[in-house]
Amino acid sequence: MFQTVTRKRIEILVDTPLAPRIIAKIKAVDISGWSLIHVDSGGGRAGEWQHDDVTGAAAKTIILAIASDTKANALVGELAPVLDSYRLLLTIGDVQVVRGERF
């Protein structure tokens, strides 16, 4: 009836000003698309923060991208050098998708 295949669900939490750089890397490894989700607030070892649009530098965004295993690996490779300096939080999970040829 319909066919599902396994793909990677990549979730990257990043400071909003740096998001365009991550998106450039997503394009570089030829992942077909991405979506940005707004993060309201959070906390970690560097303290707590709330999103405020006044000084956008403290805002954070989640970048969501669905990709094949190979492309996900390529992306991780691209991101490796900046993982620390950008303080990225990067997680990769397995999901089933339909119309998998698109990813």
Binding site: L18, R21, A46, G47, W49, D53, V54, G56, A58, P81
Partner: protein
């Protein structure tokens, strides 16, 4: 004068926000509304400055003030950098990032000062808005240069993000509205005056309420601030503000405009520069520069700095 300042609703709303955040109240201003107010304030201040310059023309004072502003923005980061590395014990990267903030300016501090001073019959010249816009970016260049002199390989992120710096939202909006004000002139401004002029002070109240909340929350939540950095976050506006006021007086500005130049020098950016630093120096810790500029220097200037440099300008003027 400080009493006048402290009974102005504009300042009292800032205090209310600050106190509410210290009491850990759940009071918050929706961020979209806060950003809308900051867009409104920048458009209004740009427009009004442009309209004033349209009628006064480009005077020698304007040119002198512009040159002074540019010089301050380029040079003040050197003082800040020296103090931040020596006394503040910051790494070169962090010190360069912080120094850029103190060379640049805070639009809201300027706007608040303009309102308070105008309310006391000491309104700065319209062209000071142009000076404000000119002072936003040069400090970024100096700060980056200072940070990088001692930096290790910068992971290939580096390079000054020229495009982002020159087209950043607040520069575009201030300069754009300034030009619109110049083109439209007094007559063209009349139909939009009810929104951009009459309502201005009230909006500033609500915006400073939010700034009080944001400044205090940043102060509470920060884990990166040492006593030395707190000291510098108060010393730097004092030093920079005194230099700015003196320079303004020296080049012959009226007392009000000299005070405004002092306040611009004393103020620290928390919009344009943090965004640029996050891009150009991702290794620098945003916890440090935001806590200093937004958590300490901004409230200090709003509550004490404005009155202080106004008094200084009148004393030496």
């Amino acid at each position: 004068m400080i009493i006048d300042t402290l009974t102005s609703p504009v300042i009292l709303f800032f205090v209310l926000g600050f106190v509410a955040a210290l009491l850990k109240s759940d009071l918050t201003i929706p961020e979209a509304f806060a950003k809308a107010m900051s867009i409104y304030l920048m458009a209004a201040i740009g427009l009004k400055g442009g309209v004033e310059v349209a009628s006064s023309g480009i005077t020698p004072d304007l040119i002198a003030a512009a040159m002074a502003g540019l010089a301050l923005s380029f040079l003040l980061p050197f003082i800040a950098f020296a103090l931040l590395t020596q006394f503040g014990k910051l790494s070169k990267i962090d010190a360069g990032a912080v120094a850029a903030h103190y060379g640049s300016v805070s639009v809201v501090t300027f706007v608040t000062a303009k309102e308070i001073l105008t309310g006391q019959g000491l309104g700065p010249a319209g062209y000071m808005v142009a000076v404000l816009a000119l002072m936003e970016t040069p400090a970024i260049i100096t700060g980056l240069m200072l940070a990088r002199r001692g930096a290790k390989a910068d992971n290939g992120n580096g390079g000054t993000p020229w495009h982002e710096v020159l087209t950043n939202a607040s520069v575009m909006l201030l300069v754009g509205a300034f030009i619109i004000g110049m083109v439209a002139g007094k007559d063209g401004f009349a139909p939009v005056k009810p929104l951009f002029d009459t309502g201005f002070r009230g909006v500033l109240c609500l915006f400073l309420l939010d700034m009080g909340l944001i400044a205090a929350r940043r102060l509470i939540q920060s884990r990166k601030i040492t006593v030395r950095l707190v000291t510098l976050a108060i010393a730097l506006p004092l030093i920079n503000g005194a230099i700015g006021t003196a320079l303004g007086t020296f080049i012959g500005l009226d007392a009000a405009s000299a005070a405004a130049l002092g306040i611009l020098a004393a103020s620290a950016s928390y919009i344009a520069v943090p965004a640029a630093m996050r891009l150009a120096l991702p290794e620098a810790d945003p916890g440090i520069y935001l806590s200093m500029s937004l958590g300490i220097t901004f409230p200090f200037n709003i509550i004490f700095g404005i009155s202080l440099f106004a008094a200084l300008a009148q004393a030496i003027g």
